[in-house]
């Protein structure tokens, strides 16, 4: 398997037969693109989760405060 490697040394591999810039820049773009399109959706998911959780907790507190208030005010008025 390893005898079919097309480069005789690591320096050869980096040089890419004189096309180092072309080959490596394309693969660098590829990896960058790959990273961006997987990392950002995962990051966004975490943000959504955090945001929604906060909203959920705030709502719960509001509901409990509202119910306490309405219990207290029940005696004063019916609304």
């Amino acid at each position: 398997m390893f005898e079919s490697i097309q480069f005789s040394s690591f320096g050869d591999f980096v040089e890419m037969g004189g096309y180092a810039f072309n080959v490596w820049s394309v693969y660098a773009l590829f990896l960058l693109f790959f990273f961006i399109n997987l990392y950002f959706p995962i990051l966004k998911r975490k943000q959504i989760m955090r945001e929604q959780k906060r909203r959920l907790l705030v709502n719960r507190e509001k509901v409990s405060i509202d119910s306490k208030l309405s219990n207290n005010e029940m005696d004063k008025n019916d609304s």
Binding site: S4, I5, Q6, F7, F13, M16, G17, G18, Y19, N22, V23, S25, V26, Y27, L29, F30, F33, F34, I36, N37, L38, P41, I42, K44, R45, I48, M49, Q52, K53, R55, L56
Partner: protein, 246 residues
């Protein structure tokens, strides 16, 4: 059939099913990607004309071919949105547009870098490149159309229509190398099918890379669609339970 159809349209059902598939898809993608990249960079023999720049093909061809799938995908999703008002279809259409713009941009950039040495020029206004650039602008157009319209329902309809019309350009891209080949020097064409059949050590890694990039497209689309579901369905019972449980 109808039960299946309405089930498929339910964001909750899609969210649960995609959650089960995601690890497998991601694992398959990573495996194929690692094998494909190592094969393409180390083991593929240099081309007799293009030398080691042939290794660019293993990035360029998968992205260029898959970027053609976006408009048909968005058109199908758009038609489903228009006809059956399926919520999930519009979510997929919305997340596909930016991803498609990325795919098209990478196909253009890698082709340009490849061409800068092989053709001696970064850019040439031929049928293939021009129609591909048009696709990029059309996708940017779809994205801005959606963000420009405040009413989500109107935005979904407008984007669906633009996606269906935009499909015409896919045919232009696909057949551009056939239509304009005669005007061009043969070296200007990078269509592989015209050439003599390639040996397996050249096309097997290409097939691996195409499948890997396809899986990447699916994984990335699922990730963004799941985010979209969580945002749009945040008031629904099941999303609140899901977030509460986390």
């Amino acid at each position: 059939m109808w039960l299946w159809f309405s089930k498929l349209g339910s964001p909750k059902w899609f969210y649960e099913l995609s959650g089960k598939w995601l690890p497998w898809l991601a694992a398959g993608m990573s495996l194929l990607l690692i094998v494909g990249i190592i094969w393409a960079l180390l083991f593929v023999p240099p081309d007799y004309q293009q030398g080691d720049t042939i290794r660019i093909m293993y990035v360029h061809v998968p992205f260029a071919s898959i970027s053609l799938a976006f408009f048909p995908l968005m058109a199908v999703a758009g038609t489903i949105t228009l006809v059956w008002r399926m919520k999930l279809a519009d979510m997929v259409a919305k997340t596909a547009a930016p991803l498609g713009a990325w795919f098209t941009a990478l196909a253009l950039a890698s082709g340009s870098i490849w061409g800068s040495d092989i053709w001696g020029t970064w850019w040439i206004w031929d049928g293939r490149l021009t129609s591909m650039l048009l696709q990029f602008f059309l996708l940017v157009g779809v994205i801005s159309l959606r963000s420009a319209l405040e009413d989500a329902d109107a935005a979904a309809k407008a984007c669906a229509l633009l996606s269906i019309v935009g499909c015409i350009n896919v045919f232009v891209i696909k057949y551009s190398v056939d239509w304009w080949n005669t005007l061009h020097q043969p070296s200007g064409s990078f269509s592989l099918s015209d050439e003599a059949p390639n040996p397996p050590e050249v096309w097997v890694p290409l097939v691996i890379m195409i499948v890997a990039v396809y899986l990447f497209f699916v994984v990335s689309l699922i990730l963004s669609t799941r985010n979209e579901i969580l945002e749009r369905e945040r008031r629904s019972q099941w999303v609140q339970e899901l977030i509460g449980a986390n």
